[in-house]
């Protein structure tokens, strides 16, 4: 159990290192001179050269990479060009908001998606199945940023029920604790609903497919031959076995879930890593872009590792040394 996990952890670190290296190379391959950008268009050639030297850009690429990697590992991620604040502080403030949104939306969309998939599988081929399939395909096709805007239009502009921007009201700090919590929940509602709705479709489609595929298996025949109630066969036998690939799917789809979060955070001004990334990209704030990309890859990789541990826990077969 431990050794494969350790191997996975090393592989995960390799992925993060790969991301960091890739981003470094991309930043260097991109057109435009950061030194020139910093000193402005009116600067003389000498001023640009001085700035290049100060930034270490006149050193060989390998030396720059080595120095940069060393600083990165030590947590010195430089300062944001746009705000002047240390990049590390920006991201330390941002990541809990993203993690909260991602974890809650995964829990909700998997709970609802699995339920929908089970209902569909239990009535597979019926009219209800067709209707629910149409619903899940549609949810699957809806772009998150558009759904977010439509929810804002209905719940914020028309019904005036829920706030659409940020993670708390302007006066949140001065509210009593219960009101503060309520305010937080109200701000969470729309971004969470958007991400959850977008996620349900994919999960439901997958669960239904996995359960229908199991139909005709010997163990189901045995379970039915024993005289078990259909609901018990469905939940204890079919669903349990269908859930293992679902857990694997969860790990593999984390990058996609994170991608969705980036757009949703941009729409709702949710103070997470995605919004920091989008703002930095739009402002060409390279140090922030770099670190945000690394942090997001880190979050995804950590989630992947967690999903794999869940699979090992749920399916004892994968724990056997000869299984892999």
């Amino acid at each position: 159990m431990l050794r494969p996990l350790l191997r996975r952890a090393v592989a995960s670190l390799a992925v993060i290192w790969g991301v960091v290296t890739l981003v470094f190379l991309l930043l260097h391959a991109a057109p435009g001179d950061p030194a020139g950008l910093l000193v402005g268009p009116a600067a003389s050639a000498e001023q640009v050269a001085v700035q290049r030297h100060a930034l270490g850009l006149d050193r060989p690429l390998v030396a720059q990479y080595g120095g940069w990697l060393g600083r990165f590992v030590r947590g010195d991620w430089g300062n944001s060009i746009a705000t002047g604040r240390p990049v590390r502080d920006l991201l330390l403030e941002a990541w809990p908001a993203t993690a909260k949104l991602v974890v809650l939306s995964i829990l909700l969309s998997y709970a609802l998606g699995i339920t929908l998939g089970v209902v569909q599988a239990s009535v597979a081929g019926s009219r209800l199945d067709t209707i629910l399939s149409a619903a899940s395909v549609t949810l699957f096709a809806v772009p998150g940023y558009w759904l977010g805007l439509m929810l804002v239009m209905v719940f914020t502009y028309r019904l005036r029920l829920l706030p659409a921007f940020g993670a708390g009201g302007l006066d949140a700090e001065f509210l009593p604790p219960w009101a503060q919590a309520l305010d937080g929940l109200r701000h969470l509602a729309l971004p969470l609903a958007t991400l959850t709705l977008v996620g349900i479709g994919g999960v439901a489609r997958f669960v239904r497919g996995a359960m229908v595929d199991l139909e005709g298996s010997a163990f189901l025949l045995t379970a039915r031959a024993k005289g078990l109630a259909p609901s018990r066969v469905l939940l204890r036998h079919t669903l349990r076995n269908a859930l293992i690939p679902v857990l694997t799917l969860l790990g593999l789809s984390l990058p996609a879930i994170f991608s969705g979060t980036v757009f949703v955070e941009a729409i709702f001004a949710w103070p997470g890593v995605g919004r920091v990334l989008v703002q930095a990209v739009q402002a060409r704030d390279h140090p922030v872009v770099l670190a945000a990309a690394a942090v997001s890859a880190g979050l995804v990789v950590a989630g992947n590792l967690l999903a794999e541990m869940l699979v090992a826990w749920a399916d004892p077969r994968t724990r056997r040394p000869d299984a892999r």
Partner: protein, 286 residues
């Protein structure tokens, strides 16, 4: 194929959108950037006629431009970006997957590790990064989408090729002295065509969604050229007064992606053994 309702509906939806894109100049007011009297024609609701006697089936935007015309011309951008990006990612994926399958050894290990690495990255992060570093244009969007979308194809081609290589027809070809290249082009790829088409159908939907997403963030197709993504972005400020500006392109996106998904599902079901891969693939390629 035609007995499958999903295939029929999916094809119908996509054919409809393709026709709109092809016939855009004929079935619309002609120029997606045309403004006459901005004050008199701005934010007209759907199905209204302006002071010049021009009918606007989907209303006008903040600058008095016809939303239907922009939608129809935007379909050209969305469909061509989606298709070209997927063609590019299939080309890369086939080369990587087939090389890994036929080369074996450290080349295969390296290519598979590269594929796994690329799969673990959040695609949008990479997209944002690439789109931010090079100034946004349609070409950049196509390249970026293609370069970030080949991994599922590579995995598929690798897995299927490894299976096909052991089949008697491949062994026969090798026994007759066919080289690896010939084996791949003449014997393996024709057998891989159908699963690749399925991946393409699902991939085009995703590529279109991502293109719209990039354009929505201002990193894709630049205004005044219409794209469904930048139309949604433009409608964002007018959600209260003119929900149709952002509403119409969003519904168009849903129609295209539903069409691609239904068609992909129906095609996939014909290849029963790989069925389970379907939903996973479509979720992953986002």
């Amino acid at each position: 194929m035609l007995d499958d309702a999903r295939a029929v509906l999916g094809s119908a939806l996509l054919t409809g959108v393709v026709l709109v894109a092809l016939l855009a100049p004929v079935i619309s007011t002609g120029d997606p950037a045309r403004q006459r009297d901005v004050v008199a024609t701005r934010l007209l609701p759907p199905a209204s006629t302006d002071t010049f006697g021009v009918f606007h089936p989907l209303g006008t935007d903040r600058l008095g431009r016809d939303v239907w015309t922009r939608l129809a011309f935007g379909a050209r951008v969305s469909l061509s970006v989606g298709t070209l990006a997927v063609v590019l990612s299939i080309a890369i994926g086939v080369v990587v997957g087939a090389t890994a399958a036929l080369a074996r050894g450290w080349v295969a290990t390296g290519l598979l590790a590269l594929t796994d690495f690329a799969l673990a990255l959040p695609r949008v992060v990479l997209l944002l990064l690439l789109a931010a570093l090079w100034s946004p244009s349609v070409t950049v969007v196509i390249l970026v989408l293609g370069v970030t979308g080949w991994m599922t194809v590579a995995r598929l081609v690798y897995a299927e090729s490894r299976g096909l290589v052991t089949r008697p027809f491949a062994e026969a070809a090798l026994a007759l002295g066919a080289g690896r290249g010939r084996l791949l082009v003449r014997h393996l790829l024709p057998n891989l065509a159908t699963p690749i088409v399925v991946t393409a159908a699902l991939g085009i939907g995703n590529a279109i969604l991502l293109e719209a997403g990039l354009s929505f963030l201002g990193l894709g197709v630049q205004p005044p050229a219409p794209s469904w993504g930048n139309m949604i972005a433009a409608g964002r400020d007018a959600l209260m007064d003119a929900p149709w500006i952002a509403g119409a392109p969003g519904i168009a996106l849903v129609v295209v992606v539903v069409g691609c998904t239904l068609l992909g599902d129906a095609l996939q079901e014909r290849l029963s053994p790989a069925r389970r891969m379907r939903a996973r693939q479509s979720v992953l390629s986002r």
